[in-house]
Amino acid sequence: MIALFILIPLIVLAALGAIWKARPVHAALLLALSLSLVAVLYLLLGADFLGLIQFSVYVGAVAVLIVFSLLITRPSDETKEIARRPQSILAGLICAVPVLAVLVYSVSYSIGSDEVSESSPSQFELAELGKSLFTTYAPAVMAVAVMLTAVMIGAALFARDFNQRES
């Protein structure tokens, strides 16, 4: 519980930095920090497997990809002025704040209605997860597999095009 109280503000701070920082690379690195803290959160909640997966996918792949594309496109710091234009911030706030309000309201409503105890949290059972992946959820796994293959081929095609243009 104490750990949660320490961790959650950190996650929010890092996320805040990720959306607010003017330099794109800083934003991407803070995103990586925030997501890896989420991975720590998963570990704390007993979902070891998911925490490690989260870490390797988000830090090892997604953040690196984002950073890599930032390096390739090398956006200048024009974001500095534009992102902080009062109108856009205002528009963002106008859209985001009601959403936050609605979400918080619904959350508080759902918590208020259900008496949730924290005495007996569920345990993570990897073997069960694995079994159900290949039984109950086999169609879903296949769908994801097909999608991932498609993504890989698509990305490879993009990369190929990229190369041909280059040389």
Binding site: M1, L4, I8, I11, V12, A15, A18, I19, P24, A28, V38, Y42, L45, A47, F49, L50, I53, Q54, V57, Y58, A61, V62, L65, I66, F68, S69, L70, I72, T73, P75, T79, I82, A83, S88, G92, A96, V97, V99, L100, L103, V107, S108, I111, V116, S117, E118, S120, P121, E128, L129, L133, A140, M147, L148, V151, G154, A155, F158, A159, R165
Partner: protein, 106 residues
């Protein structure tokens, strides 16, 4: 405040932050950053409800982690495809600023 409430609040805040980023950022890659944050907010919800939402249930199931697993896989794919598209656009227009990509604009 129960852990569940805490986690749900975190999820709400993260989602809103992501939304804010999507709305205010103009660099396509940084919009993707916002999208990742929103996806994670949803994942946290799943984990929170799996962990604390099944109290008193006879046979707690693993549906929450399962969803998170799929979500992570799809998020990775989404990031890959998204970035590939952004890079292709960049190849053509030499910019990742979405406000400059207005060639379809009337």
């Amino acid at each position: 405040m129960t852990p569940l409430a805490l986690l749900l609040t975190l999820s709400c805040v993260l989602f809103t932050l992501g939304l804010f980023a999507v709305l205010t950022r103009r660099n396509a890659i940084l919009i993707l950053v916002g999208v990742e944050l929103m996806l994670n907010a949803a994942n946290i919800n799943f984990i929170a409800f799996w962990r604390y939402g099944q109290a008193g249930v006879e046979d707690p199931n693993m549906i929450g982690p399962m969803f998170v697993l799929f979500s992570i896989a799809i998020a990775a794919a989404e990031a890959a495809v998204g970035l590939a598209i952004i890079l292709m656009v960049f190849r053509h227009t030499r910019s990742t600023d979405l406000n400059r990509l207005d060639s379809l604009h009337g």
